[in-house]
Subunit: 467 residues, 2 copies
């Protein structure tokens, strides 16, 4: 370890924005004063955390000043007008380059905003900067470090988004997930992470074209993440042909679940002792609160889901390889020396595959989705760990065994920063049912307030009407 103890000192702090809407309206705080606190954290920590590819303080201050004036006049564009957000660097921005974590695209301007960025701007959100991603949102890590311990990975591929939110540099940041790229870094960095139902957020203008890919967000609280995504969905919709994120513009009402399924997932054999204890403790608390728990050993439907998701990583690898054949073959032809070995190996795998093998992997995934869908009759949601334990030391972005099932199943998943392992954050993962994202948020509120007594993670929202 080359760094001294001092160099590791970052003070992670989640900075909710939407909880301050009353203050913004009353003028006791402004988006400008809020932004300054975020910029102070960037100033203090960015040299060690390295969450950003690029950020622009001047432009952010100008936008915050405009938002502050709108709030003062009661003319805010939305509940997130003036919120400082970051954009994962595979999502296009007209005023900043989109490097995709690849030397092939360093400094490259696409000339346009993605659908989601365009929507965020029209809702008044402040695009502070582009956050570090692994190469093409896949395996090879960028320079970002975990703000809780800079010897450790922040997770990936939404590495910079998670680290910036956890270090209080931003309230929220866009992420994407095809295997575990939102849930895992949210777990490792200790923020709220949300991967919506497949298709819920328009992926136009994002290097994010695979069939399991999904745009989502990492944020300081449940309310911040919901408001960011619902403001996008109402303006940009979901993927073409999809209904888009369904739910109210306000945080969905709290819902008490009557039954929760606990999933082991294929990650169970790799779980740390601390993480295992955390999940066991949670189950105890949940049952004590009067909610029924079902598991593979006492429910056939749960057992069948566990059997289906046992191959989630293997099938996902095949599906993603085939679907990445193009454009990886384009990148290899452009300059193979600027494509990582792991990407070239994935391309080789893809080129050795037949379309029949791909169809077989899709059929397995479809069967898993049908099996999971049946759970709706028995449980209100499923829970598991967000990761097998604390963020590992070194550069590897860590194990995805716990996060891949929700991507494979196409269902909404939340990571809530409720656990600790090795004095590092660890997430509890809540999984809902397709296009029932709002129900998942309702149940998550109940879990936070009544089971874990952590209402501050919900984010107290004062609506305009009540002011």
């Amino acid at each position: 370890m080359s760094s001294s103890a001092e160099e590791s000192i970052v003070r992670p702090s989640l900075r909710s924005f939407v909880t301050l809407s009353r203050d913004f309206a009353l003028g006791t705080q402004t988006p400008s004063s809020f932004l300054e606190q975020c910029l102070q954290n960037i100033e203090a920590y960015e040299s060690r955390v390295k969450a950003f590819v690029v950020f622009d303080k001047h432009r952010a201050r100008a936008r915050a000043s405009e938002a502050s004036q709108r709030w003062a006049k009661g003319e805010q564009l939305s509940s997130i007008d003036g919120m400082p957000v970051g954009i994962k660097d595979i999502i296009e921005t007209v005023d900043m380059p989109t490097g995709m974590g690849s030397p092939l695209f360093t400094g490259a301007y696409s000339g346009r905003d993605s659908a989601s960025v365009k929507a965020l701007r029209s809702a008044g959100a402040i695009i502070v900067g582009k956050t570090v991603t692994t190469e093409f949102a896949s395996t090879v890590p960028g320079p970002t470090r975990n703000p809780w311990d800079i010897e450790r990975t922040p997770g990936g591929s939404s590495s910079g988004s998670a680290a910036a939110v956890a270090a209080g540099m931003l309230t929220a940041a866009l992420g994407t997930q095809v295997v575990g790229s939102i849930i895992r870094p949210a777990s490792f960095c200790g923020c709220v992470g949300f991967k919506p139902s497949i298709g819920a957020i328009n992926r136009g203008g994002s290097h994010d074209f695979m069939s399991q890919s999904c745009q989502g967000a990492l944020a300081a609280s449940l309310a911040d993440v919901w408001f960011v995504l619902s403001e996008i969905a109402v303006r940009a919709g979901g993927d073409p042909g999809h209904c888009g994120l369904i739910g109210p513009m306000d945080l969905p009402d709290e819902r008490r679940p009557s039954t929760i399924a606990v999933l082991e997932t294929p990650g169970w054999s790799e779980v740390s002792a601390g993480a295992r204890e955390m999940l066991a403790e949670s189950c105890y608390l949940i049952e004590k609160s009067g909610i029924k728990i079902i598991r593979r050993r006492d429910c056939l439907d749960v057992e069948q889901i566990e059997e289906c998701i046992a191959s989630a990583a293997v099938q996902t690898r095949k599906i993603n390889a085939w679907e990445s054949r193009w454009p990886l073959n384009i990148y290899r032809d452009l300059d193979s020396s600027k494509v990582s070995t792991s990407m070239l190996i994935k391309l080789e795998e893809a080129e050795a595959m037949s379309i029949t093998q791909y169809r077989s992997a899709l059929a397995s995934r479809d069967a898993a989705r049908v099996a999971y869908g049946k759970l709706k009759q028995q449980a209100d949601l499923a829970i598991t760990l967000s990761a097998s334990g604390a963020a590992p030391q070194g550069m590897s972005t860590g194990n995805t065994a716990f996060s891949v099932p929700a991507s494979y199943l196409g269902v909404p998943a939340l990571s809530l920063p409720l656990f600790w392992d090795e004095q590092m954050p660890l997430g509890l993962q809540l999984m809902g049912f397709q296009d029932q994202d709002a129900n998942l948020f309702g149940h998550a509120q109940h879990v936070l307030s009544s089971v874990f007594k952590r209402p501050e993670l919900i984010g107290r929202v004062i609506s305009d009407k009540s002011i």
Copy 2:
């Protein structure tokens, strides 16, 4: 009319490539000699037809020479090795600009090949040039004229692709369809047009992102169009998450249908007398050949389909508008003076829509797809006209009432150049069932050979093995 009669003289001729594979193998013809005949037609007609945005004779000749050598050695890369093809100018090509029919993108290089173009190149096809599209594959026409009568439209949006194939400048050209952009120009120009099942051909790298959008091809014969698309599908697959075009690499075997449903479609009230007579005559021939015909008046399932597709144009307009909101808002912000009024109006409509209205249109489309799917129990395929009559004079790309149902329903559709109206070509449209594209080709062969006695439109294929 400013042009003299002489200026209108083009001699349309379909130039099948795959029927010559035996000659290529024997050396009695070569891809180079074939290409020269295509280039002669370009030389003779392009100044009046204006099918191309750009073409490159020198590069095409170099590629043809390589293909000729491969055929001579028996080392051809595929059945389409050396086939001269065109690429609709909304589909990206690394060596030619992709202008998308918009002054915003004239001469713009994207820096990559689309998934389909990459696959075509690896199969040995010769990318001769980019073919004219309407603005963003929508309404505003380019300069292309109909090779049968240059006072008339070639149809759109795959205008240049249809005109170039019909004029014998190319064997095949890629097209795309979201409303009627393959079936309509194929009908007006008198070539074979095929819009596959939704998702059957990978749309990566094509400005073609709407949920009804589909990549397909226009070609000289049934075999040419099947070979082009199956060679793409086996290399690039379908859209992510879709099974891709299903079928053999060879032309699917002929299948005799036992029952055919005849659809009036919402276009029936606008049909020309000549077109109406053509369809009536076809029904007579079909029944005479021993195939049963069912219609709305004698079959409840057909009546329900007719009722569902009555609103296909209205719902499609809503769906496409909402899904075009982004990136049209980006283009307007870049330079609204370079965006057509019709696009700006579509964007206004989109921005006045709510996501709830979009979801309602999707629900209507889903219901129509379910209704059409039931027809499988009663009929092997459906037929109707490809257009309401001959290509109209002037610039308007014509009526889409007959072509929009297949896009709305997501099912494969073929236009076969079997009819005449006003001494212009007119297509018979065959519609199949989702992901059963191969069956549709089998039935189309029977219709061509046994009902209409036009085997030359099938394309006689001599496989390598039989040589």
